[in-house]
Amino acid sequence: MSQDDSTIVKQLPNEEFLPQVVALINEGHTITLPLRGRSMRPFLEDNRDNALLKAVDKPEVGDAVLAELWKGHFVLHRIISIEGNKVTLRGDGNLNSDPECTLADIRAKAIGFYRKGSDRLDSTNGRKWRIYSWWWTRLYPIRRYLLFALYPHIPYWLKVESGKRKENRL
């Protein structure tokens, strides 16, 4: 039981937890999964939103998918291209990592998101996601500046070099 009356965030390591999630997905369940990380900003935020995941037959460009890049290492990113068996992924909040994987590495698709504590699903078939996706993927050439404007922070490496800078809360 939780130790006190307040809720605490329980962290389970991905490499153990997500394979169980994938197993449930393959049994035909949908999964509500709390999201960590900033890779899908600005639509999704670290430690705030949940994804609704389901099994996927034929992933398509533009889908937000859960992929296992190597054993135990999972990401939830958008598919930006599919060439034959090769899939290129890019998190909406990422600039130039673009991991690649195969179609077989795609474990689930996000069919919607519960954002900002809401019980209402932002479906990936819905207007909000589609309009956002249309704009955000096309604005990739200036994504660096948009992300900086939305999330202004001094990068860690700059903070370390200049001892006089104030501690910045990311």
Partner: protein, 95 residues
């Protein structure tokens, strides 16, 4: 006839799963499994939960189970059972 302490049951839609070696109560429908609001249970709580599935129970049932399984005196078993029922009611997993 109304008795003061009515029998309780576990609520439908809450399933105990073992995830990463932990006992976790997950809200589950026929299709969806919701990991966004989980309830973590220690061994004792999980043991009791498993043993009251599908039955009407009250604090005495839980105290009895504790006495069967653990080396504990009756007073402790009763107070632990009472505390647990309160927690479970608060968590919304029993009715």
């Amino acid at each position: 006839m109304m008795t003061e302490k009515e029998d309780m049951k576990t609520k439908k839609g809450f399933k105990l799963r073992t995830v990463c070696g932990e006992n976790i109560i997950v809200a589950e429908g026929i299709e969806n499994v919701d990991f966004s609001r989980i309830i973590s249970m220690n061994e004792t709580s999980a043991y009791l939960w498993k043993n009251i599935q599908g039955i009407d129970f009250d604090e005495n049932t839980l105290a009895g189970l504790l006495l069967e399984e653990y080396e504990v005196d009756e007073a402790t078993a009763r107070s632990d059972a009472k505390a647990l029922v309160e927690k479970w009611l608060e968590a919304g997993i029993i009715e």
